[in-house]
């Protein structure tokens, strides 16, 4: 209407409207706009924030060492030879054992000399020393052929400032001393006292001929009351002897009794020049390494009768052994050659090689060679970190498993090392060169054992026969090395998701097709919410039902379940065949509800038939016991292959049929009445099933002939909490989502397309398959992707029902361990900011990345679908 005409019409009293938009409306509009914008931005910021937080938490995993302090000085009067050395965990004191029995103690950071200690040995000189892994005792070999064990320790205590004695000499800003003890100022006006002590025990005769001891290996273990010490010594004449020293304290009298046991070692070849002898921490292995790289391995597991288990080479010919040192746990052995190479060896079980204990030494890792031969190695007492020094004094601190270089250091003047000490806490390395140049470098390496390789690639761990992806975050012993490969966890997540989708997708999609295409909208309005109610079940409930109820039931009825997978389609098809015999006017009038009831009844019938048939089925296919067949001990591959190939061969048969037989049959059908056609249908069905079974049998026969067996890949030994159970439970959890989204997608296909197809004479099913599904395909795809995203991130079900075994195994009857479950289970126990803690954060990041990618793809596809659907 025009303005003028409105003017002319008689205004209705009280109803004259102002046609400008009110200020308040504009303001409300703007406000809403702002609030929505801010809300959206906040959501994005929150997601990004979480991402940044996770990344920041995980970054330290990939860092190498950072130097935190450096001290260099010239040590007075450097000795020509040092037999042993040690450092306390605060880098305060260092001791050096000299051949004349003197122990020089000095302040590590400055070189300030403390009062020396003396070990008296009736005038004999110390010719060899060896320290035990426990760092509390030292074995000393003397020129008179005896051995003495010395207890060494850094005594520590903390006193308040008020107790500080007077007359102390200042060493540096922090430390003062009275000559024996160092007083270090620590936080809270307190002082830490550190003092080095050493006491020597009675001599143990070792060399039968009284020759000087040239080489020594020593381990001490057991509690104080019942200590066992093992000693292996080599004297100047080349005689190798082993002693086991047992100290027993009588608890009643308190009298100490020492028993010395001589152990006869099988002899070594005469002409060798032994360079190093090493005894493992548990005294089960003795290694004798020669200068030329030959290595003799004694197995001492049977104390009474040691065996020379293996003779091998750890260096190529022409090389000279320069260093040979055990790492923590005495399994990995580092061997250095005169060409600067450094390799890591350990034993693996390998029965084929014919060694006495069925084990062989293998070279597991090579380190980047140094420019000069490595002559010193100092192994850490926690973890597999070690420090190494070349003849030129180049120092490298590295981790043996991750092969991460944590620190490198070059001396001011190249000079061979006199001592190399890695601090007990792996936060410092002390180096003393023959020219007296001393340096202490303090550094921090929060996570030396993790690198991209240890997290995502195969790693050859001690005791494993080959490089593997392994997740094992905690172990029983102190020397246990955490194995933190994320691959088994990622595999577990993907496996759980895949198997549950295998179960959920067909059901969800068929249900979506059914409600959107085949039932009346009124019934659909009832069915859809019912399906969606499934989603409201908390996954923890699903999880424990799966673990405590479903898992045992599935275990008992596994053969029946397998059978029902075959029987459900067969019986449904049979049912629909016989449906045709019901006169058309009856089905036409009562179709919908009767069909549903009929299908339900069929399901019950099927359950009955399944239970009846199961024993026969198991007997016929699996020697009467499916589970024992699964272990691979009974039966052959054929029966299962036959069963699993049935769907494939049904497809092949169907294709063949529709291609070649159908058109010919159609012409005959046309001439017959409806009943005759139904009878012919039955005949056709019988023909098709026989053919399907034939094709399946043929394929299974051929495949099993060529040694193809699904046991060991897709199926295998049955474990109660397994992927099948997870698949059922998680399938139940994702069905509603996939169903809802897929149903919406199918529904958004406009009706005029259905009308067009039906108008062409297509059946409902043809319309669905050829027109509706293709048009809704991207929507359906995104439904599946969203289901996948949910399944990958799902936690409680996998925690409870998956068994949590971190395996890389496709076997559907085996358990798995998912990323999400690992985080849930292990995070409460992980030490804050520890390696496991950060690796779990990394797991979270990986999980986030996976679900993010999956959901983004799903969303992008969905948006595309929406746009397309709008154009239809």
């Amino acid at each position: 209407m025009q303005q003028t005409t409105t003017e002319k019409t008689v205004p209705i009293p009280g109803l004259r409207r102002d046609k400008t938009v009110k200020k308040s409306v504009i303001w409300a509009d703007r406000l809403a706009d702002r609030i929505i914008t801010i809300g959206g931005i906040l959501v994005i910021v929150a997601v990004l924030g979480i991402l940044v937080f996770l990344t920041v938490e995980t970054l330290p995993l990939f860092r190498s060492g950072q130097t935190t302090g450096q001290f260099r000085y010239q040590l007075h009067d450097p000795p020509p030879v040092i037999l042993g050395a040690g450092m306390d965990e605060y880098h305060t004191l260092t001791y050096m054992l000299l051949p004349d029995g003197r122990i020089r103690v000095f302040h590590t950071r400055t070189g300030y000399e403390m009062n020396p200690l003396h070990i008296s040995a009736d005038g004999a000189a110390i010719t060899a020393s060896a320290d035990s892994m426990d760092q509390e005792s030292l074995a000393l070999g003397f020129s008179d052929g005896t051995i003495r064990i010395a207890a060494t320790s850094f005594d520590m205590s903390v006193i308040p400032e008020s107790d500080l004695p007077s007359g102390l000499t200042k060493i540096d800003d922090v430390d003062q001393t009275d000559g024996d003890t160092v007083f270090s100022r620590i936080t809270g006006d307190q002082y830490r006292l550190i003092r080095f002590r050493a006491t020597v025990e009675e001599p143990i005769p070792s060399s039968p001929t009284g020759q000087p001891i040239t080489n020594l290996a020593f381990q001490s273990s057991g509690e104080a009351e019942r200590q066992t010490r093992a000693l292996v010594s080599l004297d100047k004449s080349g005689y190798l002897s082993m002693n086991r020293v047992q100290e027993k304290v009588n608890l009643m009298t308190g009298i100490k009794k020492t028993e010395i046991e001589d152990i006869r070692l099988p002899p070594l070849p005469k002409d060798i020049r032994i360079s190093v002898i090493r005894l493992s921490e548990l005294v089960d292995t003795l290694l004798v390494a020669c200068e030329d790289g030959r290595l003799f391995r004694y197995n001492l597991q049977n104390t009474a009768t040691p065996v020379l288990a293996e003779t091998t080479r750890v260096l190529p010919a022409g090389q000279t052994l320069t260093v040979c040192e055990y790492l923590l746990g005495s399994q990995s052995l580092l061997v250095g050659g005169s060409d600067g190479s450094l390799n890591l060896f350990f034993t693996i079980i390998e029965p084929q090689m014919g060694t006495a204990d069925k084990r062989v030494m293998v070279k597991a890792r090579e380190f980047t060679p140094m420019t000069a031969p490595v002559v010193r190695i100092s192994a850490a007492t926690r973890g597999k970190t070690f420090a190494q020094s070349t003849t030129a004094g180049s120092i490298r601190v590295a981790h043996a498993t991750s092969q991460k270089t944590l620190l490198t250091m070059e001396p001011q003047t190249p000079s061979p090392p006199l001592a190399l000490l890695l601090a007990p806490r792996m936060d410092g390395v002390f180096y003393l060169s023959q020219s007296g140049e001393a340096s202490l470098v303090q550094f921090s390496t929060p996570h030396p054992e993790t690198s991209f390789q240890t997290l995502f690639q195969r790693v050859w761990y001690e005791g494993y026969t080959e490089p593997t992806f392994t997740w094992q975050s905690s172990g029983a012993s102190d020397s246990f090395e955490p194995k933190l490969s994320l691959i088994p966890l990622i595999f577990g997540s993907v496996k759980a998701a895949m198997y549950s989708l295998l179960f959920a997708v067909p059901i969800a999609l068929l249900a979506a097709i059914y409600t959107s295409e085949f039932v009346h909208p009124k019934i659909r309005d009832i069915l859809k919410p019912i399906m969606e109610i499934m989603a409201s079940l908390p996954s923890v409930v699903l999880g424990f039902v799966a673990a405590l109820v479903l898992a045992p039931v599935v275990e008992n009825w596994i053969a029946a379940i397998l059978l029902s997978f075959i029987l459900i389609p067969v019986i449904m098809l049979t049912g629909s065949l016989f449906w045709q015999f019901i006169p058309l006017h009856l089905t036409a009038r009562h179709g919908g509800i009767f069909r549903v009831i009929g299908a339900m009844l069929l399901l019950f019938v099927m359950a009955g038939i399944t239970i009846l048939l199961t024993p026969g089925f198991e007997a016929f296919f699996f020697q009467g016991d499916f589970k024992s067949w699964l272990t691979g001990n009974t039966g052959d591959a054929l029966p299962f292959l036959f069963l699993i190939l049935l769907p494939v061969s049904a497809l092949i048969t169907g294709l063949f049929y529709s291609r070649f037989v159908n058109t010919w049959l159609m012409t005959i059908y046309g001439r017959n009445s409806l009943l005759a056609a139904s009878v012919m249908d039955v005949g056709k069905w019988v023909f098709l099933s026989v053919m399907t079974m034939g094709v399946s049998f043929l394929m299974a026969r051929i495949m099993s002939r060529y040694g193809f067996d699904l046991r060991g890949s897709l199926v295998g030994t049955y474990v109660q909490r397994n992927t099948l159970v997870v698949g059922f439970a998680m399938g139940f959890a994702v069905i509603p989502i996939i169903y809802t989204i897929a149903e919406d997608a199918l529904n958004s296909v406009p009706n005029h397309l259905r009308a067009a197809s039906l108008g062409c004479g297509a059946t409902q099913w043809q319309t669905t398959i050829y027109v509706v599904l293709p048009a809704a395909l991207s929507g359906v795809f995104s439904a599946v992707m969203i289901g996948l995203g949910r399944a990958v991130g799902e936690t409680m079900i996998v925690v409870m029902a998956a068994g949590n075994t971190p395996l890389i195994d496709l076997n559907i009857f085996n358990g798995l361990r998912a990323l999400s479950a690992t985080i849930a289970v292990e995070l409460p126990e992980a030490v804050k900011d520890g390696t496991l803690y950060r690796v779990l954060f990394l797991s979270g990041l990986v999980l986030f990345a996976m679900t993010f990618v999956i959901n983004t793809v799903a969303e992008v596809v969905r948006l595309r679908f929406r746009k397309r659907a709008a154009q239809l």
């Binding site: 005029h752 062409c760 004479g761 154009q871």
Partner: protein, 273 residues
């Protein structure tokens, strides 16, 4: 009100028929009533549709033209609560008989809808769709049918170079002719068209009308339209419907020039509708 009593047998129907085609009738709608639930939408309609001719259904909006048309190939079947009485015979076979195969019936009666509704597939897949659902996979037969049908629908020259393009890329008029081609590809006897031009511009409308004129004789065409000129231009016979009843049925000339009923007169002269 109807000029055709609903009780005639097929024998005498020919004699009173307003305009005989050369080959007789193809569809007999006999005393046909239809209810949507309790609401009756069609009342005792009786006409005979002649083979090979174009029959137009005209009438005001909501008078039941589409309902009647959709009854002919039983597209109404799925509507809940729908029931009918009377008969519709295709070649003397009542299409509501219990043993009639609806799918086969629809294959004999191609349908073209008000809004062009090509499938979101390629042009050639659209046209060969009726063959695909019959299980025909032979490439040669398919491509021949596509070409023939598109030629029959006067679309071949426009699309022959882009048969593999998506049909949604065509213009509205082209899409509607594609739908006609798709209907023709099924080789039907009857073509049902429900206001095929109402969503098209005048140029496209002219093309469709020309096409209908060309298809005359090969197919029996029943076209619903509310455009009187169109009915006059393309049809041989015209039925005027009002409030669910066929008021008058006869030669198109007669209906437009000297209708017997006053309502028809009012409608064709544009006094209501």
């Amino acid at each position: 009100m109807t000029e055709q009593p609903g009780t005639r047998t097929s024998m005498d129907r020919k004699m009173v028929h307003p305009q005989h085609g050369a080959e007789g009738t193809i569809l007999d709608i006999d005393n046909f009533c239809l209810w949507y639930g309790l609401k009756q939408a069609l009342f005792n309609n009786t006409i005979s549709v002649e083979k090979g001719l174009v029959t137009a259904l005209i009438g005001p909006s909501g008078c039941g033209k589409s309902t009647l048309l959709r009854s002919l190939n039983r597209m109404n079947d799925l509507i809940e609560g729908l029931h009918t009485s009377g008969e519709i015979r295709l070649d003397n076979q009542n299409i509501f008989d219990s043993h009639v195969d609806v799918i086969a019936l629809r294959k004999r009666m191609g349908m073209v809808f008000q809004k062009p509704n090509p499938f979101p597939m390629t042009i050639s897949d659209n046209v060969s769709y009726p063959l695909k659902i019959d299980g025909i996979r032979d490439r040669r037969i398919l491509s021949e049918t596509v070409e023939k049908s598109l030629q029959s629908a006067a679309l071949w020259d426009e699309v022959k170079d882009r048969l593999k393009d998506n049909a949604l890329g065509l213009s509205g008029g082209q899409q509607q002719r594609l739908c006609i081609a798709r209907a023709i590809a099924a080789d039907p006897e009857v073509l049902l068209m429900d206001e095929p031009c109402s969503a098209l511009d005048p140029m496209a409308t002219t093309k469709i009308e020309d096409l209908i004129n060309e298809l005359r004789g090969r197919y029996s065409i029943i076209i619903v339209t509310h455009n009187m000129q169109q009915a006059a231009r393309v049809s041989d016979n015209t039925a005027f419907m009002y409030l669910g009843k066929i008021i008058e049925y006869g030669k198109t000339d007669t209906i437009f020039t000297k209708p017997r009923s006053q309502q028809t007169q009012d409608y064709v002269t544009g006094r209501f509708g």
